[in-house]
Amino acid sequence: MATRLHEVTPGVESTPGVTPAPTPPAPVRRRFATGAATVIIRRVLGAIVSLFAVLVFNFFLFRVLPGDPARKLARNRHMSAEQVVELRRSMGLDRPLGDQFFTYLNRLLLHGDLGPAFSKGKMPVAEYIGDRIWPTVLLVGSSTILSIVFGLWIGIKGAWQRGSTFDRLSNATSLTLYSMPIFWLGIVFLMVMAGNQMGLGLFPTGGMHDVTPPEGWFANALDVLHHLFLPCLTLTLAYLAEFSLVMRSSLLDEMGQDYLTTARAKGLRDLNVRRRHAVPNALLPTTTLIFLHLGFIISGALTVEIVYSWPGLGLASLEALEFPDFNLLQGIFLLFAVSTIVFNLVGDLLLGVLDPRVREA
């Protein structure tokens, strides 16, 4: 008994790094809001203000980076200093910072143009991001869904059968996975499942397509799935723990509540007590976590993308940073910010729908 308690407690406490407070939105907010419409308007306005702040911040943040893109292109090439000056001029980097900032805002706000990507042959940034966004959405999207499904299931089952073998095993596994560096996990899977020295050689070592893609859309889709498997597995395992631990601890919180005793006293079957009463209440913190997580879909997979050379935005941002390609960095990080802000907003609003306490405000 003592050991069990001992094992359970760290599980409950150690949901570190889970940024959202596992409580429903603070009731304080009610004071300012007079109706659902007002709440929505306030939240949307807040989101727009954050977006603008990000827009400004991004520009200056990347300009602080040391590095001269023009010299980067010209190094080790038969190029005179005058050519480098010319190159710098063609990138607009010779003009004063304020001037560059104005051009950036003007271009973005009036024309929706993110400018050319200098490290990509001056391809328009929006077009380049368009090429690289889908692999990331596919990878992080699929692994998020899988980890939510499995994570919640493990969390619910574990909490309900607290102290069982399943609970102890899954809790220990979750904690191990949670504390494991994703990069390392990826390398291990790569060696074991993709490599054929010590491993099985079952899956490709990197990329998203075979270099000679098969004919037909179905064969092509299978080819992509084949490449997707290992990075998706790595990310799913990495995300899984977060969901199962939060779900487990919030369900444990609910399990002590009086209304469950009432429900049981009414003669409800155990399954119904769990599904109709405990889980819906325990899901609230998890919902917040899920939406916070969805916000990271775009930005989330940098390390896994590196290990598996997955051609997504994480990898693209690394390439842009090495350059440094200011326009591309601004574009990518703007997108990261937009996705985080939008999903947070949706999560906030949805919580109002799910939780009557918030809705009543």
Partner: protein
């Protein structure tokens, strides 16, 4: 989510969905088996090279990264190539060329009957078009300025003769790295568009391969131009596959997913030695590494900048540092023996311009370094650190290493130790190359470790030490030139001008060696080593890899080498996966998933019935 979990029926549906997802992910493995087990007799010969750099552009007027140069060089022809023996010019598009005695008129004879990949004939008019557009185009000129700076215009005398008119003689003329482009295609591409033109949509070239597909961040696929005028490639496709992670790339090579890798690190390279089916290729590096010294930072207007230590203006101190640098130890310990000790700024692979100091060599000798400093009046203080008699400052130098390079970090550690032995204290800081560029440009450094890649034509490399390459000020801002030692010597500049018009290679080589002799004596750099270029390929499946003059089998000089790569007889192109293993594991995994799903569904059912 809520509904998925709260109803018993959907619980089973969930289980079914999980099984379906599992199967969907496993199916491709089986599909791969199906593909592998039915190789068509006319299977394409595809040679795949793993690289770690996605080219920035495949448009010849754009694209500055090494990978971009390599692939553009495969898609297009230059007038001349590089010999595999000694980098001397050999015919490529041009069969022959001659120059007037004053070197101001060059005539190139184009190979007859060359066709573009769309079937149109390639003529001297295309050559004239390419160069005239490059010379006069505001957006076309920047990349190639160093090659065309002395060319006034180019005239096609007839279909096979192009005549170049120069403003001044220029030895670069028989090594013009300017890809010849088809006029009938490019005349429709406006000069304004040229910088952002991707050139990835069925580009027309004359090279041994034609671009067929590019997936950004993934791969570049080229198919063989079997009608190539010097003989079509033996392989059908050439693929450059991009890896971000070196370990993953090496796994792919071991497994046979790719056929070759470029630019390996020393540890990885040694781990591949003896790997089954893999041959490692160690070629002479076309570059050098150095400890750079701030000899007194000034702008081009001789205005002092930065805060370099004044003692480093003294040649005796710099020579002492050279004596105290054990270059053999650096090769052994830092490069794991994969390189050669350095002496000068031209690597030994360029034999005719390579300089050897002979008895002037700064052989590693701490006693000699110490006596040199003693003789110059740098006496040791109570703490053993020497003091500069002129400024009264201790000999305490900043020593910068580069974050991205293990070799750089290693080198500065060793140098720091040796300097300590001769009464010089140094403070090591490791920083990003970008940051280092910035502090060097501002003259805010004493010593640093970095390196250069050196082209067969030495002009650029020797120009780095001319007075004009020091930093310059433009509207109040200091911009870095290429000089990172701030070396400035009028005699050296004179020799630089002299070599820049010497058309006779042996004569020019003499001048280049004199310049190196000067640099060796003045020590703006202590050249530490020439690091070998490390590659590996699947020799069990491929033959005909032809080394260039440095020994490199790809990413060398002259892209002609991709034509001779071929399968030896009888070896297939299988992915190296055993079909049996694949099916077995696939089936086992499928069963596990199904069993898991069923168990899940059942546990829900029993829970419901319990009580």
């Amino acid at each position: 989510m809520t509904s998925l979990i709260t109803s018993g029926r959907t619980g089973r549906r969930l289980a079914a969905a999980i099984v379906a997802i599992g199967l969907a992910l496993l199916l491709p493995a089986t599909a791969a088996v199906a593909q592998d087990s039915s190789p068509s007799p006319a299977a394409k010969k595809v040679f795949t090279i793993g690289i770690q750099q996605d080219p920035d552009s495949l448009n010849p007027f754009n694209g500055f990264l090494t990978s971009a140069y390599e692939i553009q060089g495969i898609m297009y022809d230059l007038l001349t190539g590089w010999s595999d023996e000694d980098f001397s010019p050999v015919p490529q598009l041009a069969d022959s060329w001659e120059k007037s005695t004053d070197g101001l008129t060059w005539t190139f004879k184009i190979h007859p009957g060359v066709k573009w990949s769309d079937g149109q004939p390639l003529t001297a008019k295309d050559v004239a078009y390419t160069f005239n557009r490059t010379i006069n185009g505001e957006n076309e000129r920047p990349k190639y300025d160093a090659y065309v700076k002395n060319i006034k215009d180019v005239v096609a005398l007839d279909d096979l003769t192009a005549e170049f008119h120069l403003a001044a003689a220029d030895p670069i003329m028989d090594h013009l790295w300017v890809p010849i482009i088809p006029e009938h295609i490019w005349k429709d591409i406006d000069s304004k568009e040229v910088t952002s033109f991707s050139n990835e949509d069925d580009p027309v070239g004359s090279g041994p391969f034609v671009l067929t597909e590019r997936k950004p961040g993934e791969f570049i696929r080229l198919s063989a131009n079997k009608n190539y005028f010097r003989g079509g490639p033996k392989i059908d496709e050439l693929v450059f596959k991009i890896f971000e992670d070196e370990d993953a790339m090496v796994q792919a090579l071991r497994k046979g997913e790719i056929d070759a890798v470029d630019s390996l690190g020393g540890t990885t390279f040694q781990s591949l030695q003896g790997a089954p089916g893999v041959t490692t290729v160690q070629s002479k590096g076309l570059g050098f590494n150095e400890i750079g010294i701030n000899v007194g930072a000034q702008t081009v207007d001789n205005k002092p900048i930065g805060d370099g230590h004044p003692a480093l203006k003294d040649r005796a101190v710099r020579q002492a540092i050279a004596y105290a640098t054990d270059r053999n130890a650096l090769v052994d310990r830092v490069l794991r023996g994969l390189g050669d000790p350095g002496s000068s700024i031209i690597p030994p692979a360029y034999a005719d311009i390579y300089y050897t100091p002979g008895d002037k060599e700064y052989k590693f000798d701490l006693a000699k370094a110490n006596s040199l400093l003693d003789g110059a009046g740098y006496t040791r203080g109570g703490d053993g650190i020497r003091v500069d008699p002129n400024s009264g400052r201790k000999l305490e130098f900043r020593l910068f290493g580069r974050e991205d390079s293990e070799e750089s970090k290693g080198s500065v550690q060793f140098v720091q130790g040796w300097l300590k032995e001769i009464g010089i204290d140094s403070k090591v800081t490791i920083m990003a190359e970008d940051k280092l560029t910035e502090v060097i440009g501002a003259g805010e450094f004493d010593l640093f470790e970095w390196g250069w890649g050196v082209e067969p034509d030495p002009d650029f490399q020797v120009s780095v030490f001319t007075c004009d390459q020091r930093s310059y000020t433009d509207s109040g801002e200091v911009y870095a030139g290429w000089s990172d030692s701030f070396y400035c010597n009028q005699d050296y500049d004179g020799l630089y001008k002299q070599q820049s018009v010497q058309l006779d290679r042996p004569q020019r080589a003499e001048t280049i060696k004199q310049m190196q002799d000067m640099l060796y004596a003045d020590v703006p750099y202590v050249v530490t080593y020439y690091q070998d270029n490390l590659q590996a390929y699947r020799s069990d499946r491929w033959t005909g890899l032809k080394p260039d003059a440095s020994g490199a089998i790809y990413f060398g000089y002259g892209t002609d080498r991709y034509r001779s790569i071929d399968h030896p007889s009888g070896s297939g192109d299988s992915g190296g996966i055993s079909t049996g293993v694949l099916i077995g594991v696939g089936a086992a995994a499928a069963i596990a998933v199904v069993a898991g799903g069923v168990a899940l569904a059942r546990s829900r059912a029993t829970e419901g019935d319990r009580e």
